[in-house]
Symmetry: C2
Subunit: 225 residues, 2 copies
């Protein structure tokens, strides 16, 4: 089910377009120009046209996009039109935050099963979803037709948990554990590593030596020229 | 302090290299080949060479990279060699999870100030860091030389909080609020939107219509050929 042809970055922008289109449609505005869509999403009109062209021609030149038609189309492209079930593995602080957030707000991707190893947590609920033992995971994923797994377990437990998700039939995993998962080619893995996010952010501050070096370099070249 | 020349994707890979190099150096292994670095990070040797070339030539052809020298160099490039202070705004479930995680593990990027609007939370501590009122934010960011802001506030409060971080002198923001921030050019913003992560992940499952369409397409072309 993997589709390598379309860049991941383009896929990541589709939900952003979707959100703006749905908001615009909800305000009973039928047409949005690519300039407006660009302003509201922060992406350039060229980028938007290019992204949407991957899925066929959309919109009318000089007019814009039909908000309802395009939002429906993007929802179908993403597979959100019929709702997607997700399983959360690891009900620690981050897992708890994600579960509360997802269960309360997402209608299209919804956490319908939660698993943890801690006997004290098993049997308790997060927003109406009961935390179950890891031993139930594989069968529950199959029974509930769960397609997405969210891993918020310690790094040492990530690989084993991911394998169980895979065996249950999960096709995509959002991995928050700082561990590189080794799975079969039919499981798409998206890593979100908060340490890496914070460390790479430091590059954009004056703490970075590279920043200082480039300032020097730019100064030198302006003296030379 | 923004450096647009090097792709963001390359900057995101640097902390991954750093982690592997530090682990390898800690195991008292002096040299790592680009093949080993590739295997442990999941990126291709070509990608690694290309990324490191942005910062000058590293490594010795046919030998590899000096683990200590390269890890030090990457730390300096990222600005992690001297430690970077971060402020967390919003001590809800996600904020709490991030604060606990960051304060306990990160030595190089460290949350040293936490802010919230809730009077019940103000004055309480997360891992030894006291939660303060929003009114203290600007001055505290200045006084503590905080360069990074982490926003875990509701979407409606994100812009105002971001502006206060900017006025205090923050240079980079990790924004978890589902809101597009409008700030000056000297503040780098990295958005992590969990709704978008989950929605885009659905594309890689069989729930996506595009997946089904491409399977049909591939089948047709193999019949044609």
């Amino acid at each position: 089910m993997r589709k390598p042809k379309i860049p991941e970055a383009a896929i990541k922008r589709l939900p952003v377009y979707l959100r703006v289109l749905e908001e615009t449609a909800a305000a009973e505005i039928q047409i949005i120009s690519s300039a407006e869509l660009a302003d509201k999403t922060g992406f350039s009109p060229e980028q938007i046209r290019k992204d949407l062209a991957y899925f066929g021609a959309f919109g009318t030149r000089g007019v814009g996009y039909d908000t309802i038609l395009l939002s429906r189309r993007i929802a179908r492209i993403l597979g959100l039109h019929q709702g997607v079930h997700a399983a959360l593995v690891g009900a620690g602080h981050l897992g708890y935050a994600l579960a509360r957030y997802s269960i309360s707000r997402h209608k299209d991707v919804r956490i319908t099963a939660i698993f943890d190893t801690d006997p004290a947590k098993i049997g308790t609920e997060i927003m109406g979803v009961t935390i179950r033992p890891m031993a139930d995971l594989r069968q529950a994923v199959k029974d509930q037709n769960i397609k997405i797994g969210i891993l918020t377990v310690p790094a040492t437990e990530a690989q084993a948990a991911a394998e169980q998700l895979q065996e249950g039939g999960v096709e995509a995993i959002l991995n928050f554990a700082p561990a590189k998962l080794r799975l079969g080619p039919n499981v798409f893995v998206q890593n979100i590593d908060l340490t890496i996010e914070l460390q790479s952010l430091a590059y954009y501050t004056s703490a970075s030596e590279e920043a200082a070096a480039q300032v020097v370099e730019e100064t030198s070249s302006s003296i030379d020229s």
